[in-house]
C-alpha cells in the first residue's frame, strides 16, 4: 500500500514553519517567478547546486545526494523511502513543523480522491473511514488552493469523506472550483445522499452545470429499517431515496452503491427489483465487495461472509438489473470467486494505491483482469482463492 501521508521527514536546513499547498516538480530549471509555488524533488544529480527560490526541497531516502549541508538554501528535507512514488505534477500539503506531508493529488494516478471532511451524519457498520466529530473546515481551504495546481488533463477526481454534503455551501464552492480549473475532468462525489432531500441544496448543485458530475450514493436494503440499521441512522433511508429522486429531478447523474456483507446479501435480489421498479432512472449501480478497514474490523462477525457464499444472490441481482437495462457493475471482487456469468460485469475498481494480490495469486494468469484485493484484506479474505494457471 502506498503511504499517502507521512511524518518521517527530516529537515536538513533551516525552515519556514507555515503550512503550504504546493506542486511537486523535478524541473530545477523552472522559471524563477513560479518557483515559489513548487517543491523541488531531487531524485538524481548533484545535490550541491540547488537552484534558488523553490518553496522547499525534498530528497528521498538516504542522504547520498547530500554532500555539503552548509551550502544548502532554507527548507531542505529528507523524506522516507516510502515517498518515492512522488513525482512531477503531484500536489501536496506540507506542514514543516509537525512535520507532516500529505499527498493530495498524484498526476500519474487514475484514482485521485479528495477527502473533504471527516465528519458524517451516518455511522455505517462497515465504514472504512470512521467519522470524527471535529472542526475540519480548514480542509476545504487547502483544497481550494490545491485544485488550481492540479493538471488540466486530469481524467477524474473523486470527492470523499466523511460526508461531503455536510460542507453545505462550501461543497458548492469546491465543485465550482473544480469545474473552473479542471473543465474536462469527471467529478465523482461519494455521499450518503441525505442532504439532497433538501430541494434548494440540490438545485444549487444542479445550477453549477458541472460538465460531468456523478453522485455515488449507497442503498443497502429495500427495507428502510435494515438500511437505517446498516448506516446506524434512523430515517436515513427516506432522506437518501428522496435525495436520489431530487437529484434526478434536476437531471444530475446518480450512481447507487451497494456494499455486500452479511447484513445486505440476503435481500440483494429484492433490492435489485426495488431499484428497477422505483429508481430505474439512476445512471449506474455498483455492487461492491467489503473493505476490511475502519469499523469493519470492529464489526467483523456481523459483516464478514465469504463472497463464494453470496454468488447466487449476486448473480440474481445482476440479472434483474441488466434485464431492466440498468447499467450495473461488480466492484472489488476477485475473479476466481465470481460466478463466470458475472465476469462481464466485473470492474477493476480498487484504487491503485491500496490494490494488492495475495501470495496465492503469484502464478495466476488472469491478474490483469482481476479486481484484486484491498490492502486491508490481509485481515480476512476468502479461503477459496485459487490462481488461474496457464492451460496446457
Amino acid at each position: 500500500m502506498m503511504k499517502l501521508s507521512t511524518r518521517q521527514i527530516t529537515p536538513v536546513s533551516e525552515f519556514d514553519k507555515q503550512i503550504s499547498i504546493a506542486r511537486i516538480t523535478e524541473n530545477a530549471e523552472l522559471p524563477a517567478p513560479v518557483r515559489s509555488k513548487h517543491i523541488l524533488l531531487v531524485k538524481t544529480g548533484n545535490g550541491n547546486h540547488l537552484a534558488e527560490g523553490f518553496k522547499a526541497y525534498f530528497f528521498i531516502g538516504s542522504n547520498e545526494l547530500i554532500v555539503n549541508k552548509s551550502k544548502y538554501p532554507k527548507n531542505v528535507f529528507v523524506l522516507s523511502d516510502d515517498q518515492a512514488y512522488l513525482g512531477e505534477g503531484d500536489v501536496v500539503r506540507f506542514a514543516p513543523d509537525k512535520p507532516a506531508l500529505t499527498t493530495l493529488y498524484r498526476k500519474q494516478s487514475q484514482h485521485n480522491s479528495l477527502l473533504v471532511t471527516e465528519r458524517c451524519n451516518n455511522f455505517c457498520l462497515m465504514c472504512s473511514q470512521p467519522p470524527k466529530e471535529i472542526d475540519d473546515s480548514y480542509i476545504v481551504n487547502d483544497l481550494m488552493e490545491a485544485i488550481p495546481l492540479m493538471d488540466r488533463g486530469t481524467a477524474e477526481i473523486g470527492i470523499t469523506g466523511g460526508e461531503p454534503t455536510l460542507l453545505g455551501d462550501n461543497l458548492i464552492l469546491l465543485l465550482r472550483n473544480l469545474k473552473n480549473y479542471l473543465p474536462s475532468t469527471v467529478v465523482h462525489v461519494l455521499s450518503n445522499g441525505r442532504r439532497f432531500s433538501n430541494m434548494s441544496f440540490t438545485e444549487k448543485i444542479a445550477k453549477l452545470e458541472h460538465q460531468d458530475l456523478m453522485i455515488g450514493i449507497p442503498i443497502y436494503s429495500d427495507i428502510s429499517n435494515i438500511h437505517d440499521y446498516v448506516v446506524q441512522a434512523d430515517g436515513a433511508f427516506d432522506e437518501t431515496i428522496q435525495g436520489i429522486i431530487n437529484l434526478k429531478r434536476f437531471q444530475q447523474k446518480v450512481e447507487i452503491r451497494v456494499v455486500l456483507h452479511k447484513q445486505t446479501y440476503d435481500r440483494l435480489p429484492q433490492l435489485a427489483e426495488f431499484l428497477a421498479r422505483n429508481l430505474l432512472f439512476v445512471d449506474h449501480v455498483a455492487l461492491m465487495g467489503l473493505e476490511m478497514m475502519g469499523f469493519t474490523r470492529h464489526n467483523l462477525d456481523d459483516l464478514w461472509i465469504d463472497p463464494v457464499e453470496y454468488q447466487p444472490q449476486l448473480l440474481k441481482a445482476v440479472e434483474i438489473l441488466s434485464r431492466y437495462r440498468m447499467n450495473v457493475s461488480v466492484y472489488n471482487h476477485q475473479l476466481c470467486l465470481l460466478d463466470k456469468r458475472l465476469w462481464l460485469y466485473n470492474r477493476k475498481s480498487i484504487s491503485d494505491w491500496k490494490n494488492e494480490y495475495m501470495t496465492e495469486c503469484t502464478p495466476c494468469t488472469k491478474k490483469t483482469e482481476c479486481g484484486g484485493f484491498f490492502s486491508s484484506a490481509h485481515l480476512k479474505y476468502s479461503s477459496h482463492i485459487v490462481p488461474f494457471l496457464e492451460e496446457n
Partner: protein, 496 residues
C-alpha cells in the same frame, strides 16, 4: 479520541437491528392493493402500479388483520413492494406517486397510430373476414386523394411525438397509388412537424411487385401480413382465385425480407375452428419461415366472421386450450435453447414488469380508442378503432366519431361517441374490473362488449375478453411461480 477507541471504551456504539424497527411497536398500515385467487392454494396480490406478490391463501387474512410479524420475510416483501407501510418510512407514498405517473405518462402523448383504410376491396375471399371486404372491382370503396389529405391534416394535429400511419383494407395494395400519395404528402408535412414518422402496410402480399418493394425500401415502410399456419390451413382460411394464397404470402415474405430486411416484415395469425387442434403445426410453420415470434389470436366478433358463423364455431375455452398448447410448446422450444416469443404473453409480461405502460390499445385503461389509435375509413368517416369500423360495416355506427369532410378535429375528438366509451373503459371504475386482482395488467374493450353484449361495459362474468385475459394472466403467473426455467424464459420476453 477516534470513534473506534471510544467504542472499545464505552461498549459498542452500534445499535442493533431492532432499534431501527418501529413496526415492532406501532405495527403497520395497509396500502391499497387488490387480490385474486391464483389456484386452490395461492392468492396473487397486485397494486395499482403493477407490482405483484404470490402468497399462500392463509396469509391473506393475516395480512389484512395486521398480524404479519414485523421483520419477517413476508413482511419485508410486502413492504418492499409497497403493499404496506409502517412508521419507519413514508417514502413509499412518494415512490408510488412517481410510479403511477410513469405508468400513465404515455396517455399524455395522445394519438400515435393512425389507420388509413385506403380501400375496402380485396382479392381474397376469407370467410372469417372481420372487415366485410368488397369485391375487387367496386371503385366506390376506395379512399379519394381529397379525403386522404384531410385525414393527414387531422393526423398531424396529434400532439404525439411519434406518428405511425398504417394502411389497411380490404387489401391496401389494390390502391397503391393512394398509399404513395399519402406517404409522400406525410413526409412533406413532417418536414415542418418533425415527428418520429413510421409507415406500415397491412397486406396479404399477394399483389406485391418490385415497384412496390422499391417504394417501401425508399420510404422505410414496414409490411405486416397474415400467415395462419401450414399451407392447407392457410389456403382453407384464406381462399383466393387459384387457391395460391399460401404460395403468394410465402413468396412475398421472402422477397420483402431480401429487399427490406427481415425486421421490416411481420406476420399475424388468426385462429379458426380448423386451427384448434393444430397449435404445434402453426408454430412450426412460423419456425420454418424463419420468424422468431408468433401472435396467437382468436377471431373477433365482427364482419363476415359473424355472418358465416365462423366466429361462433368455437368458444373462448376451446381457444384457450389451443393457446396454452401453443404456449407450452413455445416455452419448450425455448427450454431447448431456441429463442421464440409468443407475443400476446410478451405484452402481458411487459405490463407486469415494465414501469412504463405498454402501447397495446386493447389492454389499456382508459382504452386506446381515439386517444391511442384512430381510423379513417375509405368513405371519410372517422372511427375510434379498427374494430369500430368493422362494426360499422355490419350496420352499427355507434363508434363513428364523425366525417373528415364535415367535422373539425375538436368536434371529432370531443364527440360523445368517443368520450362515452373512453369513460366506460376506465377499469379502475368499471363494475367487475374495479376490484379484480388482474386489473393493473388489463383493460376494457368497449367495442367488443358492445358487439357481444350490446353494452359498452358489459357483464364481466359473461365476457369472453375477461375469460381470456384472466386465464392467460393466471397461467403466466403460475408458470413463473412453479417453473424456474420457464420464469427465466418469460422474463426474457418481457423486455421492460
Amino acid at each position: 479520541m477516534s470513534a473506534i477507541e471510544l467504542a472499545t471504551k464505552t461498549g459498542s456504539p452500534f445499535n442493533d437491528l431492532n432499534a431501527y424497527n418501529q413496526s415492532l411497536k406501532t405495527g403497520y398500515r395497509l396500502l391499497p392493493f387488490k387480490f385474486i385467487r391464483l389456484d386452490d392454494k395461492r392468492m396473487v396480490l397486485t397494486n395499482e402500479v403493477g407490482e405483484f406478490l404470490v402468497i399462500e391463501q392463509d396469509y391473506l387474512r393475516a395480512i389484512v388483520n395486521k398480524s404479519i410479524e414485523a421483520g419477517s420475510q413476508l413482511y419485508n416483501n410486502l413492504k418492499s413492494k409497497h403493499f404496506l407501510i409502517d412508521d419507519d418510512s413514508s417514502i413509499a407514498l412518494e415512490l408510488l406517486a412517481m410510479k403511477s405517473r410513469t405508468k400513465m405518462q404515455q396517455i399524455s402523448n395522445f394519438t400515435g397510430l393512425h389507420i388509413f383504410v385506403v380501400s375496402l376491396r380485396c382479392d381474397h375471399s376469407c370467410p372469417y373476414c372481420q372487415v366485410s371486404r368488397q369485391s375487387e372491382d367496386k371503385l366506390a370503396f376506395d379512399m379519394s386523394n381529397d379525403t386522404a389529405i384531410k385525414c393527414l391534416e387531422f393526423t398531424f394535429r396529434s400532439p404525439s411525438p411519434s406518428i405511425k400511419i398504417e394502411f389497411q383494407g380490404g387489401e391496401p395494395l389494390l390502391n397503391f397509388d393512394l398509399i404513395k400519395f399519402i406517404v409522400i404528402e406525410a413526409e412533406k408535412k413532417n418536414e415542418v412537424h418533425n415527428k418520429d414518422l413510421e409507415f406500415v402496410i397491412a397486406t396479404n402480399l399477394a399483389l406485391l411487385t418490385d415497384e412496390i418493394l422499391s417504394f417501401c425500401l425508399e420510404h422505410r415502410i414496414y409490411l405486416s401480413t397474415s400467415l395462419d399456419g401450414p399451407e392447407d390451413l392457410h389456403v382453407a382460411n384464406r381462399p383466393r382465385p387459384g387457391a395460391d394464397s399460401y404460395q403468394r404470402v410465402i413468396q412475398g415474405i421472402n422477397r420483402a425480407r431480401a429487399i427490406l430486411g427481415p425486421d421490416k416484415v411481420s406476420a399475424l395469425m388468426t385462429t379458426t375452428a380448423a386451427s384448434l387442434t393444430r397449435a404445434k403445426n402453426i408454430v412450426d410453420e412460423y419456425l420454418l419461415q424463419g420468424f422468431n415470434s408468433i401472435f396467437l389470436r382468436p377471431l373477433s366478433p365482427y364482419g363476415f366472421a359473424v355472418k358465416t358463423k365462423w366466429y361462433q364455431s368455437y368458444d373462448i375455452q376451446n381457444w384457450l386450450k389451443f393457446y396454452f398448447e401453443g404456449l407450452d410448446y413455445i416455452i419448450n422450444l425455448n427450454k431447448q435453447g431456441y429463442f421464440f416469443v409468443e407475443q400476446y404473453a410478451a405484452i402481458i409480461l411487459n405490463k407486469m414488469f415494465s414501469p412504463q405502460g405498454t402501447g397495446y390499445v386493447d389492454l389499456q385503461s382508459p382504452a386506446g380508442l381515439g386517444i391511442s389509435a384512430i381510423l379513417f375509413n375509405y368513405n371519410a368517416e372517422v372511427y375510434a378503432s379498427d374494430e369500430a369500423r368493422m362494426l360499422a360495416e355490419m350496420g352499427d355506427k355507434t363508434f363513428c366519431l364523425g366525417n373528415i369532410n364535415q367535422h373539425t378535429y375538436e368536434q371529432i375528438m370531443l364527440s360523445e361517441a368517443l368520450l362515452n366509451p373512453i369513460e366506460q373503459s376506465i377499469v379502475e371504475s368499471v363494475p367487475g374490473c374495479n376490484d379484480c386482482g388482474f386489473q393493473p395488467y388489463c383493460g376494457s374493450d368497449p367495442i367488443y362488449h358492445h358487439a357481444t353484449q350490446k353494452d359498452s361495459i358489459g357483464h364481466k362474468a359473461l365476457s369472453g375478453f375477461c375469460k381470456k385475459n384472466m386465464a392467460i394472466m393466471r397461467r403466466l403467473i403460475c408458470l413463473m411461480e412453479d417453473d424456474p426455467q420457464a420464469k427465466q424464459i418469460l422474463l426474457n420476453w418481457a423486455k421492460p
